[in-house]
Amino acid sequence: MKKNKRIKHVLILGSGALKIGEAGEFDYSGSQAIKALKEEGIRTILVNPNIATIQTSKELADEVYFLPVTPEFVEKIIEKEKPDGILLSFGGQTALNCGIALQKTGILKKYNVQILGTPISAIMLTEDRNKFANHLHKINIPTPESRAARSIDNAIKIAKKIGYPVMVRAGFALGGQGSGVVYDEKNLIKTAQHALAFAPQILIEKYLHHFKEIEYEVVRDKYDNCITVCNMENMDPLGIHTGESIVVAPSQTLNNQEYHELRRASIEIVRSLGIVGECNVQFALNPRPQRSRFERWQNEQLLDYFVIEVNARLSRSSALASKATGYPLAYIAAKLGIGYGLTEIKNKVTGATSACFEPALDYVVTKIPRWDMEKFKGADKKLGSSMKSVGEVMGIGRTFEESYQKAIRMLDMNYEGAVSENENKKTSEILEGVKNPTPQRMFDIASALKKGFSVKEVHKLSGVDPWFLHRIKNITNHEDELSKNKILDRNKLLELKQLGFSDKRIGNIIGKKGLEIRKIRKAFKIIPSVLQIDTLASEFPAITNYLYMTYNANHSDIKPSRKNSVIVLGSGPYHIGSSVEFDWCSVNTVMNLKKHKKQSIIINCNPETVSTDYDISDKLYFEELTFEKIADIYEYENPDGVIVSVGGQTPNNRAKALHKYGAKILGTNPVDIDRAEDRNKFSSLLDKLKIKQPAWNAFSDLENAEKFAEKVGYPVLIRPSFVLSGSAMNICFDKKDLKTYLKEAASVSKKYPVTVSKFFEQAKEIELDGIAQNGSIKASVISEHIEYAGVHSGDASIVLPADRVNTKTKNEMHKISEKLAKELNITGPFNIQFLAKDNEVFIIEINLRASRTFPFIAKVTGINLIELFVNSLYKKNIKYIKTPKLKSTAIKVAQFSFTRLAGAQPMLGVEMASTGEVACFGADREEAFLKGIIATGGKIPKKGIFISLGGDKKKQDLLRSVLKLKNFGVTLFATEKTAKFLNQNGLKVKSLYKIHEKKSPNILDNFRNKKVDLVINIVDKNIKKEINDDHAIRRMASDNNILILTKIKKAELFINSITDKKFDDLMIKSWSEYI
């Protein structure tokens, strides 16, 4: 008996939009699960509104529902599809929570749906902190003591029992307010008083100062076989969320006793829970245990450790473990879920050995999170126990230094390695950063060591194990020596490369260009080796081509592909503006290259992706997307060419240098890419073609910028033409704004001028995505923004079909695109953003690469622009494809993660702030949009709606919509002026005092007491106020998880949706029923 024969139809819950804490890793795990089930002939039904994922492709699930992963929707899907089984552990916490709710309400039982894999009781046990701690104590596994206190006396008693120092956490407090470590009773009283002032109870916890954080990924089958696929060590000590930590695999500082005692404990936990599938166990380990207490046996001292967390599902860590080891955890977990035993599955990497084993690595991996805090105005940059990062990278090497420095470069933030000289920080600032980490900590540590602080001192401040600090010190020592001696003989250069230095960094130190170092290096015959990740440290040969490059070897495991092979550059780390949609594009490119019998070679460094699964491409280089590494791979593989246009902006940025170096770029010529990307060149090109664009110019001084703004008329949009970490775009409504924001852009100099352009208010933004061959367009699709121009296209709600764009405008857009395609001789994907106002069409920008809308377009219209692009490379004169008439409406809705970022301003603007997106179908806009809003965490308001409209114009603009709420049946609240205005217009509205007025009834109380479940807060930037309460209102709403709408058009559509549709009007239709 292998699989459970009863199971024929399986429902899989996805994780929805990418958000902080739940990102691309679940596309990887869901896709693998679907593959594993399909192999067994099981019909798969997937619920996931994340339209940009690979798992929601025709090639994978048999039936896809682009609907919210909530119990209400899933119940209806179950009722309709009648699945035999359900998989809950492949869609993150979203899927798990939904599954628990379905279990609790008896839905699963009612429809006789079997939960595959880990029993739900185990999952529910791990989700209840207290019950789970009791469970662990029963099997002698320690957890850190933690108790709730409601009074000071109570707190003192508990702290005494646990023993100082203790951590005081304010229960239910927002953003960790009032938390802190206290070392004695006096400070406890002080902290507890403060914390109890704004929270009904506080948690007193044992404080595990600078303990190590260690994780194990455990797999168990129904025969009780248990393996740990990987262990991982956080470089950052306990207290920093593992998603925020630099993580290495395998552990570096654990000896055999520690490694295997924790392994034993993790297996014991997994057995006790009856897990079938995958489970993640996190430990805190004391690096300096007191011998007397823990040493019992002569050789078998017990460790001083605690279990911190258990995740009875696939997780971010398990995705990382999969990529770190080559062990396909999600695939295996799915097979175990349908009844296989571990010994009945083969290790797919060797093709010969058993899947019941533990991978042996002969390399080290380093994961570093990618943060984008600059994109969130006001966000607290301190790292701590909650997640703020938006993506991650994984560097592979055969020295720690190599993997660490590679990973830093993979972040794609212009860092060349462990040492960053981008900031001139004072020593005190550096030490502050070492002690209280921000995303800059890794550089602060290197700086401190470089400045002569000892490993011991840095260790004491940071809690980072001296082992890692010595390795980083080794890097800074080599830098110091090189900058002193400036001698670069063969041995020295080889040594530096073995420590992971880039050519560019070495060049920086000795005053040469990266390319010059490359020349020297190649003259010395120092080139990297290509090694395979084979799961068994070469004990058995591997049949897969999962590869990395290293200078710590002098042979290569594989042969070059040469003819008929194509390199496809992936997206790199997920960050604001580059997400799973580009992974979809990369994977689709590979699948289509196969159709043309081309060998595909993927380069990517993001462990959360499907493109880095070793069975997607013919060869996978888990490598940096830097010029140096791409050129190395290019020279080793000698392929037909490189595709730079499907992985987003990062690969596109490499086009110029690769082209100059002599690499063949497939698709549009990089010279033409440059003509489109260079603002000056592009502007004169538009003038030549007589295409309209908003007036703009570049300025190096305020006076001329002011003159220009006066001339074209406010508002104007300003942005620095040279941006390090992508920020400082702003709309200026008057002279004062211009002055402030110009200052903010700081570097107003001749070298980095600031671009100022005319901004159109209440203009329509429309996009055209397409593909051209030799300058002639072969397909193009127009999509329309709901919001007016001024909201970044990544944050906007986008509609297909664009039926509110008139034919005249559409024709004009087509005409312009044709001109541009011809002029730029485009072969490949492109995206053009247009503005339309009063029947006039302006062009904002063109990108000669795939855009984030490609998967949305493919899944809604059936036109796969990537497929056409690959065809255009290998077939002459491909056929023009007309956009079909759509039977339904689909809307793409952005997902924001503001609740995760304490202090961040939850507002839409010209800079992108969303972390992900969903798209839903409907009979009309209202249905599609309402589903989309629910899928991103919104709700149909049931309690109260709070309205605050700034300025007379905005009040008038939204009045018609707001009046529809008259009979909606929930209480309406508003700020004083808005309430007065609405009451005058016949709407019954309760007026609330502003937060700063501190009078009752106050906005704050109504938010906190959950009397409000929708906030409409439209700001008029023209109006300057003495005290601006809007930020506080939005932040408060965000902290209380209330849906906030800040844009007129979006609010209008939402009000229309909720007044027009009831929940039961939202149709439960699968993807195939809509297209």
Binding site: T353, F357, A360, D362, A537, N552
Partner: protein, 348 residues
């Protein structure tokens, strides 16, 4: 600089970090990622130049002797990719380099250990030597009875308990004894050629330890085991002990192409779906199950015999290391199982 030279002529330069002294032996590789202290002191590695495939070695330094598996480093030489001279661990007493120098064991950093490992995987393990100034001859530890050199010279008694087990020390790892002692058993450790029956020792069961080299060279041990089997005395063997029990009972052994030296070997319990992750360190294996015995365990990767158990009497042995150190502790139950068998056997 030092040089590793293999018998097929392969030469690899390396940077020394141990003693500067020539050595030769059989070149083997091990893929465990942690536990170099335990590995280096495992007497089964006697006569071998060991390549560790995990590239960073030395990370947590070297602990006190009481944590070792024997009282010295047993390998003849050590080959790593990258050596870490800045250890970090509360138990660390010295660096790996200092230890190797003290114990006069040469060691080389050669970077491409993967090439070497693949070479041995394809060609099979072969003799090798580490040269510095002199060129020394190759030495084959499998041609001599190397067990003799690692076995105890004295008879040692440990622990207290109702039951007494005689450990025939062919190069026993310390943790085997610890595993018995932990379970309240008295142990008497005797040399490889010590016949406890001749000396009229009072004991309840015989244990045959792990050890280095070709089992067929330890003829005296085999004859002692035969006596135990004749007397129906409960007998347990580990690693070399497994091979010796098989030979004593009429089975056969052979040399594996490149051995099993790792901490991730899957072993499936016969006629079940149960699979255990085990530590292994052996170059020879049982090829023929002796008459009267059944296969007990099978390797999940290559199907080789991982243990034998008698159909009727409490004679059993495993090729893997239930005492772990280094490696997973998943099969420590073998000790409990054996002790239970002793008790049940007596009841009958």
């Amino acid at each position: 600089m030092g040089k590793l030279i293999l018998e097929d002529g392969t030469e690899i330069d390396g940077k020394p970090f141990g003693a500067i002294t020539e050595t030769s032996g059989e070149t083997v590789f091990a893929t465990g990622m942690t536990g170099y202290t335990e590995t280096l002191t495992d007497p089964s590695f006697a006569g071998q130049i060991l390549i560790l495939t995990y590239p960073l070695i030395g990370n947590y330094g070297v602990p006190d002797k009481k944590y070792w598996e024997s009282d010295r480093i047993q390998v003849s030489g050590l080959i790593v990719s990258d050596y870490i001279d800045r250890p970090s661990h509360h138990q660390s007493k010295k660096t790996l380099s200092q230890w190797l120098k003290q114990e006069k064991i040469p060691a080389l950093i050669i970077k491409d250990t993967r090439f070497l490992t693949k070479h041995l995987r394809e060609k099979g393990v072969m003799l090798g030597k580490i040269n510095f100034k002199k060129n020394i001859d190759f030495f084959d530890p499998n041609k001599i009875n190397i067990v003799e050199s690692v076995s105890t010279k004295k008879i040692l008694e440990h622990g207290k308990g109702d039951k007494t087990i005689v450990i025939i020390d062919c190069g026993a790892k310390n943790n085997i004894r610890r595993c018995f002692l932990k379970r309240g058993v008295k142990t008497i450790t005797v040399p490889w050629d010590y016949d406890p029956f001749e000396k009229n020792l009072k004991f309840d069961a015989l244990f045959i330890s792990n050890g280095p080299g070709d089992p067929k060279k330890a003829k005296k041990t085999i004859s002692i085991i035969k006596k135990a089997l004749d007397r129906k005395l409960p007998t347990l063997g580990i690693c070399l002990g497994n091979q010796l029990l098989a030979l004593a009972a009429g089975g056969d052994t052979y040399k594996l192409k490149y051995g099993h030296r790792s901490q991730n070997q899957p072993c499936i319990l016969q006629d079940s779906k149960k699979c255990y992750i085990t530590t292994q360190n052996h170059g020879f294996a049982v090829g023929k199950v002796p008459p009267g015995f059944n296969r007990w365990f099978t390797n999940g990767n290559d199907g080789s015999i991982e243990g034998i158990i008698h159909k009727k009497y409490p004679f059993m042995s495993v090729q893997f290391h239930p005492e772990a150190t280094p490696g997973p502790k998943d099969t420590e139950w073998i000790f409990d199982y054996f002790l239970k068998k002793i008790k049940n056997y007596e009841k009958k």
